[in-house]
């Protein structure tokens, strides 16, 4: 059995110049050290905090779509489950620390995700996509119909209690941003560990060749359901951030099909099976409409009313997505990688 080792040659490989450690370090310094000092309330409330929540949702969906190769069109349903679960936990079990609420809310979302992941054991592609729509409509319907979830609020809209962690109030714009940032950092780290682990490899194996995966003994059913559970957990936590750190209210209409598609676009534009992709995609989806509407107002504000402007904004965004799908199916991540290798190449030539 040892003969195989005979020819074992040096396995040193040329490591590509990687921007990753650099970039991540710089980003963390800016996110934790610089932005809290310099950013305006508007930047926190309208851009940074929703960006973080959506990036996290994109990260969760990417596990399912990008890594495990399963389709889901109902992501925002799991955001809703997370948000409502955290709201009710905070309301009904006020003794629990909020971090425990978040964890439990994620677990509730994971359980619901597992349930709606069951069809994936039988269905795939288009049929699976349609069955995930059931999650979207069913969950929204339940939160609309069952008053208990929104504490019988007549309008169906509930206000969440102010954020505080371990007695530390975080109810300022910067505080809510920092809270979201902490959660997103922790979850992203865990997701990175997951996709680099043998289980993460098994997800990709499942996506790339399910039969071969089964033959080599990957527990296909278990791994598929795990993908649904983990993905829903993360999207559920994103829902908690959306409700508690960004909007400070919860209502079913905030988690509609539009939101699900928004998250899907984040994943597709950012890049499938890429952690960076979720952040790049979310940045684009959050910032781009704001830029467009500013631009529209500045250029055409006098000519058209806001309805027309909003409609044209949607059209431009739609066109952008289609262009992206055609020109760069691998997403912003690939675009960035190419740009980087060009820059690195130039440096090497120069140096």
């Amino acid at each position: 059995m040892t003969d195989l080792a005979l020819e074992k040659a040096g396995t040193a490989t040329v490591r590509r110049l990687s921007p990753a450690p650099f970039g991540i370090g710089a980003l963390l310094i800016v996110a934790y050290g610089v932005l809290p000092l310099v950013a305006s309330e508007y930047l926190f409330d309208a851009i940074l905090t929703p960006f973080l929540a959506l990036a996290l949702a994109g990260l969760g969906l990417n596990i399912l779509i990008g890594y495990a190769g399963q389709v889901s069109l109902g992501s925002s349903a799991f955001m809703a489950v997370g948000a409502y679960a955290a709201y009710n936990l905070a309301l009904r079990l006020p003794g629990l620390p909020f971090l425990v609420d978040i964890l439990l809310a994620g677990l509730v979302a994971a359980a619901v995700g597992l349930l709606f992941g069951l069809p994936s054991l039988r269905l795939r592609g288009f049929y699976l996509a349609v069955s995930t729509l059931a999650a979207q409509f069913f969950v929204q319907w339940v939160f609309n119909k069952v008053g208990w979830f929104s504490n019988d609020s007549p309008s169906g809209i509930v206000t969440v209690p102010p954020l505080s962690v371990a007695g530390l109030p975080l109810d300022s714009s910067a505080g809510r941003y920092l809270f979201a940032l902490g959660v997103v950092t922790a979850v992203t780290l865990a997701v990175w560990r997951l996709v680099e682990s043998p289980t993460g490899r098994a997800l990709v194996a499942l996506r790339d060749h399910e039969t071969a995966a089964r033959v080599i003994g990957i527990p296909v059913l278990r791994v598929k359901l795990l993908a649904f559970a983990v993905s829903s957990f993360i999207i559920g936590v994103a829902g908690v951030l959306w409700a508690f750190a960004y909007l400070r209210t919860v209502e079913p209409a905030g988690f509609n099909l539009d939101r699900s598609f928004q998250i899907l676009f984040i994943v597709i534009i950012g890049g499938l099976a890429s952690l960076r992709g979720a952040f790049l995609g979310a940045a684009l989806i959050v910032v781009f409409p704001l830029l467009l509407s500013r631009l529209g107002e500045a250029l055409l504000g006098g000519l058209f009313d806001s309805g027309v402007l909003e409609m044209s904004q949607r059209i431009v965004l739609g066109l952008l997505i289609v262009t992206f799908l055609i020109a760069e199916p691998a997403g912003l991540t690939a675009l960035l990688d190419r740009a980087w290798s060009r820059i690195a190449g130039r440096f090497r030539r120069a140096g």
Partner: protein, 279 residues
């Protein structure tokens, strides 16, 4: 789930040594097409057994039945001391059986190393949390899998492409990665569906060497589907010939070469060795 019957092993092929693989009266049809018709044969441990026959003869269907991807209409498969009406694919690796596919079946997005290490998936015990947290047991288990995978990469001269995504490699190399993935678990029985299709002459010679080494060094029993008659004659101990789903001959290369029925059905007819492959 198909019903799986398990009984103590009694080789249907007479002899004192239990077979590494035996099939007994297998029949399988798709609608009106008969893919397999009453096939019985046995493969002795340590044997290299080729399965040859014209396109559509039922060779791949046979391997698919043996690996549980197809459920036969009738007949049984004897593997690793058990007999099955339908082989449980999920337990295949644990039964000591691995296989390659006629069409490339690599995990394109994974590196070559990860593809090969995936061949040890059925041995992993650590839970997902242990892996994410990086508990010592999970780390050890993973390091072991990677070390074994690296050994296989060196064995098949793939160490130069260790970190490349498997999907970016040339065809012949991908075939070799698939062989490495199948071999890494040191299977008792290795099923290869046209491992040399589309390879150059040199590549074929190299791969033949590797297959023989797998048998000689690791004691692996090998069942091999191959169209290149030259390769088959040189490599195999025995050859089974299928035609229209029937087993028309089963014997040593010399017997097969001179069998008039085989010459009629397969060897004699002018067939392009590579044509129609990869379907």
């Amino acid at each position: 789930m198909p019903a799986v019957l398990s009984e103590p092993f009694v080789s249907p092929a007479a002899g004192s040594v239990p077979s590494a693989l035996a099939v007994e009266a297998l029949s399988l049809s798709f609608g009106g097409v008969t893919a397999l018709s009453d096939i019985s044969f046995a493969v002795a441990p340590g044997e290299i057994r080729a399965v040859i026959g014209p396109n559509g003869a039922g060779k791949s269907s046979l391997l698919n039945v043996v690996s549980g991807l197809y459920r036969p209409d009738r007949g049984r498969v004897w593997l690793g001391g058990h007999s099955f009406a339908a082989v449980p694919t999920d337990r295949l690796a644990k039964l000591g059986v691995s296989r390659s596919f006629q069409n490339l079946a690599l995990f394109k997005g994974l590196s070559v190393l990860d593809n090969v290490a995936a061949g040890l998936s059925h041995r992993l015990r650590a839970g997902v949390l242990a892996q994410v947290i990086g508990l010592p047991a999970a780390r050890r288990e993973r390091a072991e899998a990677q070390a074994k995978a690296e050994e296989l990469l060196a064995f098949l001269h793939l160490d130069g492409v260790r970190d490349r995504p498997a999907g970016t490699l040339p065809y012949g190399m991908q075939k070799r990665v698939e062989l490495a993935r199948a071999l890494v678990a040191r299977p008792r029985l290795l099923l290869l569906d046209e491992p040399m299709a589309g390879m150059t002459l040199t590549e074929k010679r190299d791969l033949s060497g590797h297959i023989r080494a797998a048998r000689d060094d690791l004691g692996t029993t090998i069942v091999l589907i191959e169209h290149d008659v030259g390769v088959v004659m040189g490599l195999s101990d025995r050859i089974a010939v299928l035609d229209y789903g029937r087993l028309i001959a089963d014997g040593t290369p010399d017997q097969i070469r001179n069998d008039p029925v085989v010459i009629d059905a397969y060897l004699g007819v002018a067939h392009d060795l590579e044509a129609g492959e990869g379907i």
